[in-house]
């Protein structure tokens, strides 16, 4: 799942080399912490969060679980 997340992110940002994804668990919940170049933050989240939601939809339909959190950090 992390690989696919990284692949999608690198495809949509201006600075693919600065995409970093950290995967860890917190309170029994899987968290993916995404950090990108500041100018790409808006792109990754999208208008009304549409892009990050789209990513979440794809990831959850692959694994049949939606119990994870995508976090974009600045």
């Amino acid at each position: 799942m992390k690989n696919l997340l990284e692949y999608i992110l690198k495809g949509i940002v201006k600075n693919p080399n600065e995409v970093v994804v950290l995967e860890f668990e917190e309170d029994d919940k899987k968290i993916f912490e995404i950090s990108v170049n500041p100018e790409d933050v808006g792109q990754v989240i999208g208008k009304d969060g549409r892009t990050i939601k789209s990513i979440k939809i794809l990831l959850s339909s692959i694994t049949d679980e939606s119990d994870f959190i995508l976090k974009v950090v600045r």
Binding site: G11, K14, D48, S54, I55, I57, I62
Partner: protein
């Protein structure tokens, strides 16, 4: 216009410019054309040396291949058997058709997954091009079937409005092209009017019965706001 991006590159020699460009863009020889603006010159003992300048135009074939790779890579996580076929109807509109056993999982409930994939693929391709391009992801005959079911949804909503005293009916969230289709169908039914409310991706259509004393004309002024 057959190219989607034009770039001017400066370098030591034409040959070097093109080699670096091909590597940077991962582009094949037949996917671009170029024009030499200045051949450049090594000068005499380094004096009067001049850089070469080349203008490169990237063709739609490059975008077809890139989009195909992007979609293929994503769907392979669902099912490696899924086949992706990309075709550019023209340099602005790309269609990626996905076929195979596992596509049901990608389509998702109400085509949510399909919409998500389409949204991401559109961003991906637009990042590579200068002009705005649109991407449509079509899974099997999903869109055709969805059209039929939308017609049914509208029909049953109209029946609801007709039979009991309901004044308005709210439909489930739909994609913009689906909502447009709903509005399109309802045009033929003068006794109702429709509009969309909510924020993407949960935007949905509302169908309301027209008051008897309300004339049909204001309809023309009403913005669709699809």
């Amino acid at each position: 216009m057959t190219h989607l991006r034009k770039i001017t590159i400066t370098g030591k020699s034409v040959e070097e410019i093109l080699t670096v460009f091909e590597e940077d863009y991962d582009i094949e020889k037949d996917e671009y054309s170029y024009q030499i603006i200045d051949k450049g010159s090594a000068g005499f003992l380094g004096i009067f040396a001049r850089d070469a300048v080349v203008e490169v135009r990237i063709k739609k074939e490059y975008y077809e291949r890139k989009l195909q790779e992007f979609v293929e890579n994503i769907v392979s996580y669902f099912d490696p058997q899924i086949v992706v076929k990309v075709k550019a109807r023209n340099p602005r509109n790309f269609v990626a058709k996905i076929e195979g056993g596992g596509i049901g999982k990608i389509i998702g409930k109400h085509g949510k997954g399909l919409g998500a994939l389409q949204h991401l693929a559109t961003i991906f391709l637009n990042r590579l091009s200068d002009t705005k391009v649109s991407v449509i992801i079509d899974a099997g005959d999903y869109r055709e079937k969805r059209k039929e079911s939308i017609e049914k949804i509208v029909k049953s909503a109209l029946e609801k409005l007709k039979e009991n005293g309901t004044k308005k009916v709210e439909l489930d969230p739909m994609f913009s092209f689906e909502r447009r289709l709903v509005h399109e169908i309802l045009k033929k039914h003068k006794w109702v009017f429709s509009y969309s409310v909510g924020i993407e991706p949960y935007r949905y259509v509302v169908i309301e019965r027209r008051d008897k004393n309300e004339s049909v004309n204001p309809r023309k002024n009403r913005a669709y706001n699809n």
